[in-house]
């Protein structure tokens, strides 16, 4: 099972744990319609696009409404802390949640006790909490953007708003230096997918690939383009690609979808997501070797 967890901007939405599907530009879960916009909605939508294309089991979600006051975030953490061992998740992705170091620590302790430890992926404020709590190395994948990479590289910062100015000023071309710092301080996950004008895929501190084509600068301005990368990489890991392969393909798919959508800074994220099936149809086999889809849900995906 791929388990995707995060808050959505619907104030009174209760905790929902279960199935999700895409329908007419929305996500539908437990009878609720969730907008496919920046944040957890975009992340889930991207993962769904991959699982539907590859005919894999759809992700299961743990979401709750939260517009910044933290109740929904805490209910998600508490649910995961209580239920992770019985859920037997293969992949666990943590996304938009109010950072809570104590709850993150408890969750990491529970995950270690699972019969099989899931691949742990964190983005957004879940990544902030993991780093601030000194737990980054417990995670398998982080997906920071350039500023968030500077945050990982700043040993004292507990949020990207408090990074040292000289690190904020650093250009993304200085990424390798920041990557070195983050790993030296043990503030990086096993694999980093750094999202930006140049995407870096980093395994245990070593840059294994740099992706900069196609170059679609407008993607940086579009809310949700980082979230879709997190959803894509989660789904490709679930499809049994190696972590670094999943990261490389995720970055390529996102860029190519931006190109096909003829993205401008005014483009909405749903228009990028709509292009994912076409991108995978055209390029996935060439890029990844995933050329055959089993008819059986949850079956093999690669030849």
């Amino acid at each position: 099972m791929m388990l995707l967890a995060g808050t959505v901007p619907l104030k009174d939405l209760p905790l929902i744990a279960g199935e999700v599907r895409a329908e007419q530009g929305f996500l539908v879960a437990d009878g609720h319609r969730i907008p496919c916009t920046q944040g957890t909605g975009a992340m889930i939508s991207a993962a769904l696009a991959v699982t539907d294309y590859l005919k894999l089991d759809r992700p299961r979600i743990v979401i709750a409404g939260d517009v910044g006051q933290g109740e929904g975030s805490r209910s998600i953490y508490e649910y995961l802390i209580q239920r992770m061992p019985e859920l037997s998740a293969k992949v666990l992705t943590l996304h938009y949640c109010l950072p809570d170091m104590a709850l993150t620590k408890r969750l990491c302790e529970v995950v270690v006790s699972c019969e099989e430890k899931p691949v742990m992926i964190a983005d957004a404020a879940s990544m902030y909490a993991a780093k601030a709590a000194g737990l980054a190395s417990r995670f398998d994948i982080f997906t920071p953007d350039a500023t968030e990479l500077a945050f990982l590289a700043d040993p004292e910062a507990t949020h990207p708003a408090y990074i040292a100015r000289h690190l904020f000023d650093t250009d993304i071309t200085q990424g390798p230096r920041l990557i070195d710092s983050a790993y030296e301080q043990n503030d990086a996950a096993r694999l980093l997918l750094v999202k930006g004008a140049v995407d870096y895929v980093v395994r245990a501190g070593n840059i294994v690939d740099i992706i900069n084509e196609p170059d679609v600068p407008a993607l940086e301005a579009i809310g949700g383009t980082g979230d879709t990368i997190t959803g894509l990489v989660s789904a490709f890991v679930y499809a049994d690609l190696e972590l670094h392969e999943a990261a490389i393909i995720a970055a390529r798919v996102n860029r190519m979808a931006g190109k096909l959508a003829q993205a401008t800074p005014a483009t909405r994220i749903r228009h990028i997501i709509e292009e994912f099936p076409a991108v995978m149809s055209e390029y996935l086999c060439v890029w990844s070797g995933v050329c055959y889809m089993s008819d059986a849900k949850g079956g093999g995906t690669s030849d």
Binding site: T7, V8, P9, T37, Q38, G39, G41, D66, V67, G68, Q69, G70, G72, S73, H95, Y96, C97, L98, P99, D100, M101, A102, K105, D123, A124, A125, S126, M127, Y128, A132, D145, T147, E148, F151, E156, A157, T158, H159, P160, A161, Y162, I163, A164, R165, F168, D169, P217, A218, E220, A221, I222, G223, G224, T225, G226, T264, P265, A266, T267, R268
Partner: protein, 180 residues
Amino acid sequence: MKDLKRKKKASFEGGGLVIFREVQEAMKAEKVLKGADYKVKLVAPPPQLRKGCDLALEVNLVEQLGLERLFKEKDIEYVDITPLKLETSELLNIVKVTDFGDWVMVKAGNMKITFDKNDGMIVNTSGGGCPDIPHLHAEMIGKKLTEAPRPRDIGFTLCALMLDRALEEGIDIWQGGRQS
């Protein structure tokens, strides 16, 4: 047999500190914040910030914006909200501007706002990771810079504070023609 295990007290690590001049004010703040469902803990300030037998409140630093607003509403006087680690840098106060031709993107910390040069309409917000950011995204897009709700008024977190700074700079650029 009755289970005599004590319920484990929930731990709290907030990473932020509110400094007060008066002990009484710290206690009042604790009551107000707990009443509003914030997690807080009364602690001694670090030696560098102590004046005597004073008290500070440990808070979740990420919630800085919501805390500041509540203190203002309840007339609670405080000296500062600061990271618990004294070595931490100050709150970022610089912005970067990218010209996309018809659009301008303003970046403050981890937050970006993009608007149309012709009519000042917000076309996108991006970056960040706190739960109020997707809400602000939905509330601000499609509105003019000067008419959009302010993140500092309806947001709660440091991400929202950074987005407010980006919006402020965007308004300056839009109104002052700083964009060449």
